[in-house]
C-alpha cells in the first residue's frame, strides 16, 4: 500500500471541539489546514445515522463573516451572483456563488439577512484567506465593514430526527418559534444553560436539520448535550458522501475559479435581473450567448469499482473528468459528478486504472430524505 498521508499536527488549526473528537476516538486528518475528524470508527455507519436518525458534524472550521454598514445590501447585490433582494424577512438565508470578473467561482457561500445594516456570510474554510481579501477589497467602495467572527463554533445536526433532538435542548420559550422556522431560515434561541445560539434550518446532507452557530466557550457543552440526546457524532467523511448523494457541489472539486456557474450546474443560483451589475455578470452573459463549452452531469457506475476525483471520462465528443466521486452508502454503488464537453455525448465511459467502464448519466440528487431518487 502507498504510505498514508500524514498531516503535521503542529501546522494545522484546531476547532474548539478538537479534544472532544479525540476523546470519542476520532480519526483525525488535515482538512484545508484544519485538524478535523474524518470518522469516529465507521464512516458508513455515520452516513446511515444521518439518513435514518440524527447525526452531528463539527463544521467550526467554516468561516463566519459579518458585514455591517448602511449600504450592505447594495454591496451584496454587486458581490454575489444570486440576488440578495430575495432576502426580505429577518433570518432568511440564500445560497450563492461569489464570482471573479471572468465569471469563475471564487467560492460558494450562504448569506443571512439580519437587518439592512447587518448581513452574515458563511464561507468555506479552505478559501478563507482569499475570500476575506476579495470581500474586503470590494467592500471599500460601499463603506461596508468586514468582520470575521472566529469566536464562533458551528455544529450541523442533520437527519430525520435532528430537529426534534435540537428543539428538546432549547429553552421552552424558544421551541415553538424555532420549530416553525422554514427551510433556509434562521433565528436566535437559547440552548442548554441559557447559551446563545443562532439556529439555521440549513444543511449539506439532503436531510432536514439545523446548522447551529454557537460561541466557542459553549460549543463543548452543546456537543455534549447533543451526544447525551443520542445524536451520532459524524466525521467529514460521512459529510462528503451525504452531500454528494444529495447532489450538492463541493468547492475545489466541482468548481473553482476556472469554472463558471453554468459549467457547474449552478445556473439556478445566478440571477440575471434587469440592471444589476454584479461581479462576473458580463463574462457569464458572454459565455451563455456564445455557448457554454462544458456541462456537469450526474453519473452512476453500475459496475463494481469506485469513482474518484480526476478519473478520465470518455465521450463521443471528447474527454472529460470525474469531479466529486465516491461510493454511495445509500445506493451501495459508486456515484459522481462529471464535467464533459457540451453536446451529444453518446455512450459515456470512465477509465479506472486502465479499465473502461460504462457510466450511466442521471438527473440528480441521487438521494433525498433518506431514499434513492427516481431513476437512480
Amino acid at each position: 500500500m502507498a504510505p498514508f498521508p500524514e498531516g503535521d499536527a503542529a501546522m494545522t488549526e484546531k476547532t474548539v471541539l478538537n479534544a472532544a473528537h479525540r476523546a470519542l476516538g476520532a480519526r483525525m486528518v488535515d482538512f484545508g489546514g484544519w485538524d478535523m475528524p474524518i470518522n469516529y470508527g465507521s464512516q458508513i455507519e455515520e452516513h446511515h445515522a444521518v439518513r435514518r436518525a440524527a447525526g452531528m458534524f463539527d463544521v467550526s472550521h467554516m468561516t463566519v463573516i459579518d458585514l455591517h454598514g448602511q449600504r450592505t445590501r447594495e454591496f451584496l447585490r454587486h458581490l454575489l451572483a444570486n440576488n440578495v433582494d430575495k432576502l426580505k424577512s429577518v433570518g432568511k438565508a440564500l445560497y450563492t456563488c461569489m464570482l471573479n470578473e471572468r465569471g469563475g467561482v471564487i467560492d460558494d457561500l450562504i448569506v443571512y439577512f439580519f437587518d439592512e445594516a447587518h448581513f452574515r456570510l458563511v464561507v468555506n474554510a479552505a478559501t478563507r484567506a482569499k475570500d476575506l481579501a476579495w470581500i474586503e477589497r470590494q467592500a471599500r467602495a460601499f463603506a461596508v465593514e468586514v468582520k470575521e467572527r472566529p469566536e464562533f463554533a458551528m455544529i450541523a445536526v442533520q437527519g430525520p430526527m435532528a430537529r426534534g433532538k435540537v428543539l428538546a435542548l432549547l429553552h421552552a420559550g424558544d421551541r415553538p418559534r424555532i420549530e416553525k422556522l422554514g427551510k433556509f431560515a434562521a433565528a436566535a434561541a437559547q440552548g442548554p444553560h441559557g447559551m446563545p445560539l443562532f439556529v439555521a434550518r440549513t444543511g449539506y446532507t439532503g436531510e432536514d436539520g439545523f446548522e447551529i452557530i454557537v460561541p466557542n466557550q459553549h460549543a463543548v457543552a452543546l456537543w455534549e448535550a447533543l451526544t447525551g440526546a443520542a445524536v451520532a457524532p459524524c466525521g467529514l467523511g460521512a459529510r462528503d458522501t451525504l452531500r454528494l448523494e444529495a447532489g450538492m457541489n463541493l468547492y475545489g472539486q466541482d468548481m473553482d475559479e476556472s469554472v463558471s456557474p453554468w459549467e457547474a450546474n449552478l445556473g439556478w443560483t445566478v440571477v440575471l435581473d434587469e440592471g444589476r451589475d454584479f461581479i462576473g455578470r458580463a463574462a457569464l452573459e458572454q459565455q451563455k450567448a456564445g455557448g457554454v463549452p462544458r456541462v456537469m452531469i450526474g453519473v452512476v457506475l453500475d459496475d463494481k469499482g469506485v469513482l474518484r476525483h480526476g478519473q478520465r471520462v470518455l465521450t463521443a465528443i471528447g474527454e472529460g473528468e470525474i469531479l466529486s466521486g465516491s461510493f454511495s452508502p445509500t445506493l451501495n454503488k459508486a456515484i459522481g459528478f462529471a464535467r464533459i464537453p457540451a453536446g451529444a455525448a453518446g455512450e459515456i465511459r470512465v477509465d479506472i486504472r486502465g479499465r473502461e467502464l460504462s457510466l450511466r448519466p442521471v438527473k440528480y440528487p441521487f438521494v433525498r430524505d433518506g431514499k434513492p431518487c427516481e431513476g437512480i
Binding site: M1, A2, F4, Q43, G237, K304, F327
Partner: protein, 131 residues
C-alpha cells in the same frame, strides 16, 4: 486495535504475509492499515495464475475515502484469491488477519521473507507513525 499475530511478517507498506503449512504465502493488509483506510467498499483481486513481483502492485483495495495498491511481499504465482471480498470487502475491516486475507502466493524464493519486518518491528513502525 487487535493484537498483531506473532507468526506474521510485514512490509513497511502494511501488507502482512503468513507462511501456511503447505508452504504457500497468504497475504493481507494489517489491522492498522484497514483502520487508516476506513470502511472498505471494493477490492480488485489479481487473477489466479498471474505472476507477481515483490514491490509491485497486485491488488487494489478501495475505501470510501481512497484507493490503495496492495504489494506482494514475495515474488511468485497467485494460486488463490479471496473471492468473498468481491461482495463483502468489509471482511477486511472486521478480520484483517484472518477472514480478510486477500491472495495466496507460491513463492519462487522464500528467502525474500527474511527481508520483511517481524510483528514486533512492525508494531514499532506503526507506533512511530502515530507518534
Amino acid at each position: 486495535m487487535s493484537e498483531i499475530p506473532g507468526d506474521l511478517k510485514f512490509l513497511k507498506s502494511h501488507e502482512w504475509a503468513r507462511v501456511e503449512d503447505d508452504g504457500l504465502i497468504r497475504v493481507g493488509i494489517s489491522d492498522h492499515a484497514q483502520a487508516q483506510l476506513g470502511d472498505l467498499v471494493y477490492v480488485e483481486l489479481p487473477e489466479v495464475g498471474a505472476s507477481v513481483q515483490t514491490g509491485h502492485g497486485v491488488a487494489v483495495v478501495e475505501s470510501v475515502k481512497a484507493a490503495s495498491d496492495i504489494y506482494s511481499p514475495v515474488s511468485g504465482e497467485i494460486v488463490e484469491v479471496n473471492e468473498s471480498l468481491s461482495d463483502t470487502p468489509e471482511i477486511i475491516n472486521e478480520d484483517a488477519y484472518g477472514e480478510g486475507w486477500i491472495f495466496l502466493v507460491r513463492a519462487t524464493d522464500r528467502a525474500e521473507l527474511d527481508e520483511l519486518l517481524d510483528a514486533n518491528a512492525y508494531e514499532e513502525l506503526i507506533e512511530n507513525e502515530e507518534h
